[in-house]
Subunit: 141 residues, 2 copies
Amino acid sequence: MTCSADYAPQLRARGYRMTPQRMVILHVIHHSGKHLSPSVIYEKARKELPGITETTVYRTLEFLAQNGLVRSAHMGNGHLVYEIAGHEHHHLKCRICGSEMEVEHSLLAKLYHQLETASGYQLTDSHLTFFGLCPNCQKGE
Amino acid sequence: MTCSADYAPQLRARGYRMTPQRMVILHVIHHSGKHLSPSVIYEKARKELPGITETTVYRTLEFLAQNGLVRSAHMGNGHLVYEIAGHEHHHLKCRICGSEMEVEHSLLAKLYHQLETASGYQLTDSHLTFFGLCPNCQKGE
DNA sequence: TTCCTTATTGCAACTATTTGCAATAACATA
DNA sequence: TATGTTATTGCAAATAGTTGCAATAAGGAA
Ligand SMILES: [Mn+2]
Ligand SMILES: [Mn+2]
Ligand SMILES: [Zn+2]
Ligand SMILES: [Zn+2]
């Protein structure tokens, strides 16, 4: 669980605290490498810290997302999933078979600039999910 | 409630039925012109059809979205909202003050084509929400 | 108009997520 | 190392959304 040592300073710098709960949640997300639902995170976290509650998991996930340590995404089933905030990327997901693929944010950089220029907004988030049909499922149409 | 007359054939053509519940829900969404949450839709629908249940509202909204009559969106609070499926568009939303603005899909058309070419996926959905800072809130940063 | 099939609804029970509040514990300071 | 402040947690209760199933009713066919 050494990985959480890297995150503590980020929290302290903002006046927040590192706790066993936050450590274990970061640990779980950090080492999974994929999108995890709150309930899966809870189950895994519980193995290392049996007393942890679901309430804390939900609250911590939102807190970590707010502070840029993790990133949330809607993958189409209506429920949020979380992952460590690493490289900026987006997702493509097939409406039929559910297969996913990642898209580098650099592919959207031009669009983001266009949108910023056209709207005056400064875009801060980048973790979108585009839906469509994968090459395989297009055949069946 | 005449507006629902237009929707009935679309449902029948697919083997589905038009019901008072679907009528009133479509009516509510059609005449609102903005994004509505399931609970707001339920409250409004109830005024016209007192017996309707929340379960039916949730189920109907998903059904209508699946069949292209309405469109759902995540506007950042974790809850889905719905609107009539009219012109294709996306949204820009300020993380601080919550102000929103619409973006025509045509602005993203080029990107969509790029993504399709690069990935092989055929993109079907277009109702995204981009988050950032509105011109006004940028000043305070 | 009446009948029949089956899509749709309502109910009740369940799972998921949020919120208020008092108890706890992180960590800055002395 | 001991102390005080207050960020954070756990609990319980509330709200939001889902699911199985039997009763109902839309609408095609007779
Ligand atoms: Mn991702
Ligand atoms: Mn919209
Ligand atoms: Zn597919
Ligand atoms: Zn703003």
